[in-house]
Subunit: 321 residues, 2 copies
């Protein structure tokens, strides 16, 4: 059994090659650029960990892991175009550096290349693997669309929001683990448990993300505190505040959102604290985290095999940036 | 053996269903919208014809045909975003109607859905089919990128241009036929011949397209004559004119391109005719057309089986709009 970091290192070594031809250079340099920026490689390593929970790592798991990382980067490129984001992991986004059109195409070829890796695996599970991958990729697109739809809506309910977050971010984590489990020979029941583990962990992770953006330690948090508040992003925190705020507080929130005063972050955080949004978010995170741990416990393999996944969950939940 | 039109009708009936779930509506309505606009369905029918050249139509051919049509529409949506095109087949483009972000995503889910259909086919050729599909989809993206690169270049050689056209439009026609041939049980040699037939026919078709845009009969041609000239598009005609024009003619072409006078189309056509660009284009088209027919002749099946493909070639080459 190997830890997340051990597997991440091995994945990085194997993945750190050129995935595309040289020509046309404008296209493929753009595609390589985002891969070189890096990232924690959480999703591809989840493929490997999902596999190793049940059996030694199947050589095909490296192909599936690479496909997942390519898919993830494809969706980042396209999301950044849609969101007109200038920066990603502190670097210029692909469209900011290479233009919208090339970024769009670079995402497309990356998606095609992901399938290229998927079709290299053993015939016995190629259909099952690609089916789950397809379903997940459509769900990720749906999540992004629902997120954009929310921008136009006055009222977004908490359930709708959790559904959106699940599609936009959690299902990919969940599917990565299940894809690994399939390659490790897991039965249907165990596959469902590991999928649920990833899904609930993903939701808890997103709540943590929203929490840190508002209440994180500025010394440890890598980004500006209150970025979500400044950009009027609908987050778990804002939606809950709107649910529990008094009429006066609601009015103040609306004014802060529409007038963008210089002390917007400070004032919004005061309302959040008055509404106990911070405590609520911690509890909600705990709820999903505990469900995830229950899902992990339900998987029918020796507890010792679960150690790396358990440690990964702790690592993702206790991060401060 | 069925004709192109017979197969096109059957394809239309089977394809004319909703390919996506209802929700999120913004996303999937956009995806359905472009499919409903229609088109000649040349590529998916080529899958069916490529199959029927060698054997009765395999049920899987309908899945592959649907995948090809979804892929084609995915690439149209993304190309239209990149080209900022307001109209497609006389209707609003997807991004003009639904916004760039939704159009981008609608293309993405359509691409994923194409793979969904591909994975439903018999295991015995799923890898071979997806491999060719992947290679082709990457080539189509490359062609689009090279086309955009050309916009920034002063000098584009004829060979480079033919390479771009091959990638951007011909390989999909070629691959559609070969995919069908694989499903029909064709051997490697016959697969290569039918691929070459599609590739050369595609190039001839594009030359015809450029020719009609400049020299078509305004009564029969569905679009405005000279659209390519007005938009300074690098076409076969312009590239050849620049190759053979005198220094004075070259200067006049450059002036027309940079100053956009009201009589630009008329004046450019005069230069084209003085340079015999029309005759040259007809000859070039004939050259590729004849090579395509030679490729068709080389396929080792009874001549009578080739009749529908031969008629398709004539139909595509003799069109006036």
């Amino acid at each position: 059994m190997q830890s997340f970091l051990e597997l991440a290192q091995q994945f990085e070594t194997k993945f750190n090659v050129r995935h595309f031809p040289k020509q046309p250079q404008t296209l493929y340099d753009a595609a390589q650029y985002i891969l070189a920026i890096g990232g924690k490689r959480v999703r591809p390593v989840c493929v490997l960990m999902g596999n190793e929970l049940f059996a030694d790592i199947n050589q095909d798991a490296w192909q599936v892991a690479a496909a997942i990382e390519l898919f993830h980067n494809f969706s980042l490129i396209h999301d950044d175009i849609m969101d007109k984001a200038p920066l990603r992991r502190g670097m210029q986004t692909v469209h900011a550096k290479y233009g919208d059109a090339t970024a769009l195409l670079a995402g497309d070829v990356m998606f095609a290349q992901a399938y290229d890796y998927l079709t290299r695996i053993d015939l016995s599970y190629v259909q099952k693997i690609i089916k789950l991958f397809n379903q997940t990729s459509k769900e990720v697109c749906e999540g992004q669309q629902i997120d954009m739809d929310f921008e136009q809506m006055q009222n977004v309910g908490m359930e709708q929001y959790i559904q959106m977050i699940t599609l936009k971010t959690s299902v990919l984590l969940a599917a990565s683990l299940q894809l690994g489990a399939i390659l490790g020979g897991a039965g249907e029941g165990n596959q469902q448990h590991i999928y649920s583990f990833g899904k609930n962990l993903g939701i808890a992770f997103q709540i943590q993300d929203d929490y840190l953006d508002a209440f994180g330690d500025p010394e440890k948090f890598g980004k500006q505190i209150g970025g979500d508040i400044l950009s009027n992003k609908k987050t778990f925190l804002l939606l809950h505040a709107l649910e529990v705020a008094t009429a006066n507080q609601k009015k103040e929130i609306d004014t802060l959102i529409s007038t963008n005063p210089t002390d917007k972050v400070e004032k919004m955080l005061t309302i959040y604290k008055d509404c106990k949004v911070d405590e609520w978010a911690k509890e909600l995170k705990e709820k999903y985290y505990k469900t995830a741990l229950k899902n992990l416990a339900d998987i029918a393999v020796l507890a010792i095999r679960k150690k790396p996944l358990y440690e990964l969950a702790i690592y993702l939940m206790e991060r401060e940036s």
